[in-house]
């Protein structure tokens, strides 16, 4: 049974076609890795799947809801960890969780038991009253994952969840995600640049480049079809070796500046 169905999805920004007529399905309970070079259209696709951007054309069904027609029902069905941090750093870890619980309409009783359970799971319960601004990158990520799971979503979107983290933390997060999808039957939709990670955890993989899906299948079938030994070589065989340039929006520049300011 498929939980996400994407049909002829297209997004144009003026003349630029960021996502070009893609179709795919994600089955319930699987870990689906969405791979592609910088600027291939991964994040744009995720934004359309999660109601943040309206598609130019095409239909997306998530958990049985048309994402454009039923945005609030769709939003209740998924959790998301964004590529950039999306925590309020002036609040404590607990307050960030509390905020999320209220936004998703959890009862007070349910919220307090789940917040505890999830913060213990990501090993942040003893730091719950610390301000998020004092957290390391890995801790923030873990908190965001805990927050994304708070309302028990059917689908968890992870946009490069391990970017910039050390191997220990990355390992920890992947083990956790794999456990979660097995135990709770949560469907995980993940993008990453680390091919060996996708190879290890994903049930199925789709490769997107220049806004088009160029191959879809299990990691093993991708390697077989490209006659390569690992997913990284398969990926390079499919997308070529040229380095991609990515248009940097003013918002990205601003985020970069914000990061620079924070360091000083």
């Amino acid at each position: 049974m498929s939980i996400i169905t994407v049909k002829n999805l297209t997004k144009k920004f003026d003349d630029f076609v960021a996502v070009d007529d893609i179709s795919f399905t994600v089955e319930k309970g699987e870990i689906f890795a969405f791979l592609g070079p910088n600027g291939a259209g991964k994040t744009t696709t995720i934004k359309m799947l999660t109601t943040l951007l309206e598609p130019t054309e095409g239909v997306v069904m998530l958990n049985g809801f048309n994402v454009v027609e039923k945005p609030n029902e769709t939003r209740n069905s998924f959790g998301i960890v964004f590529q950039d941090p999306s925590l309020d750093t002036e609040l404590t870890a607990f307050e960030n969780m509390e905020f999320h619980a209220v936004l998703y309409g959890l009862s007070l009783k349910l919220a307090s038991s789940r917040v505890r359970e999830l913060l213990e799971l990501v090993e942040l319960w003893d730091r719950k009253d610390d301000f998020v601004k004092n957290f390391s990158g890995g801790m923030k990520r873990r908190l965001e994952i805990a927050r994304g799971l708070l309302h028990h979503p059917k689908v968890l979107f992870l946009d490069e969840p391990t970017l910039g983290l050390d191997p220990q933390t990355r390992n920890h997060i992947w083990t956790y995600i794999k456990d979660l999808s097995e135990k709770e039957k949560i469907t995980v939709f993940v993008t990453t640049h680390y091919m060996e990670e996708a190879d290890r955890v994903a049930d199925r993989v789709a490769v997107i480049d220049h806004g088009k899906i160029i191959m879809e299948g299990t990691p093993a079938s991708l390697k077989a079809e490209t006659k390569t030994n690992n997913l990284e070589d398969a990926f390079l065989a499919l997308t070529g070796r040229t380095i991609r340039t990515e248009d940097v929006s003013s918002l990205d520049t601003m985020r970069m500046n914000a990061r620079m300011w924070k360091r000083t």
Binding site: L52, E54, I80, L251
Partner: protein, 251 residues
């Protein structure tokens, strides 16, 4: 009930952020205080000689309005900040109508601005401001609330359309500053040159200043009724516009 809780948590967040930021608290008190002391005591003697009476008495309601105007606009513009630090996305993917998000934020920002106004009001009492005690004094909180809602909503509306902090000085220099200086916060508006008089009449801040003066020192130019009417109507327009533009944000 669910929406009420959402509005409450958004409101609470704005308050927590305000109370926790000591730098913000301090600087938001320092500027109005500087205006009060420098202008109040600097121009006081001339103002008295010209037959205007006690300038501090005249100036204080204007400065209280100024501090609320600035805090409210900044509170609204904080939306850009949330875009920058990514937190806005967390609220935009939540299963809550955007209208509710905008209302909660605006109420929170307005409450912060009102607290700010009350802090400055308290300070003015110590440097020689004496509110005139009449029944209209009871309307002061209403006028303050209307001012704060109007400008928080206006700030939110503007910020919904802007993507980076570069635009911030632009808003400051071409909107907030002119609105403040051309509002009669610093000078009486009854004998202005014609052109300036028209600008003052078109400026919503003027009605805020006048409303504060009417309620605090019983000295109004437009009349308290008109002040409240203008602030309510423009405020409602700004909230509607803010909600509309906020709804259109694409992350």
């Amino acid at each position: 009930m669910y929406y009420a809780r959402v509005i409450y948590i958004l409101w609470l967040r704005q308050l927590k952020r305000y109370v926790r930021s000591r730098a913000r608290l301090l600087s938001s008190v320092a500027q109005p205080l500087l205006f009060l002391v420098a202008l109040g005591f600097g121009f006081g003697p001339i103002y008295a000689k010209a037959g205007g009476g006690d300038y501090i008495q005249f100036l204080a309601p204007g400065i209280i309005t100024m501090s609320m105007l600035f805090t409210a606009m900044f509170g609204g513009i904080e939306v850009i900040w949330d875009k920058q630090f990514g937190f806005l996305k967390e609220t935009l993917v939540a299963p809550v109508p955007r209208m509710i998000i905008m209302l909660g934020r605006t109420l929170g920002g307005a409450t912060v601005a009102m607290l700010q106004g009350i802090v400055i009001f308290t300070i003015t009492l110590f440097i020689g401001f004496h509110p005139v005690v009449t029944p209209t004094l009871f309307f002061a909180p209403l006028v303050m609330f209307l001012i704060c809602m109007l400008f928080t909503a206006l700030g939110t509306a503007i910020a919904s359309r802007l993507n980076d902090m570069q635009a911030f000085p632009l808003v400051m220099n071409f909107l907030i500053m002119p609105m403040f200086f051309l509002s009669g916060a610093l000078f009486p508006v009854d004998q202005l040159p014609r052109a300036l008089g028209i600008v003052v009449r078109l400026n919503p801040v003027s009605y805020g200043v006048d409303g504060m003066r009417s309620t605090l020192i019983h000295l109004g130019h437009f009349g308290l009724g008109l002040d409240i009417l203008v602030l309510s109507v423009v405020g409602a327009l700004c909230v509607t516009l803010g909600a509309y533009l906020f709804n259109g944000i694409e992350a």
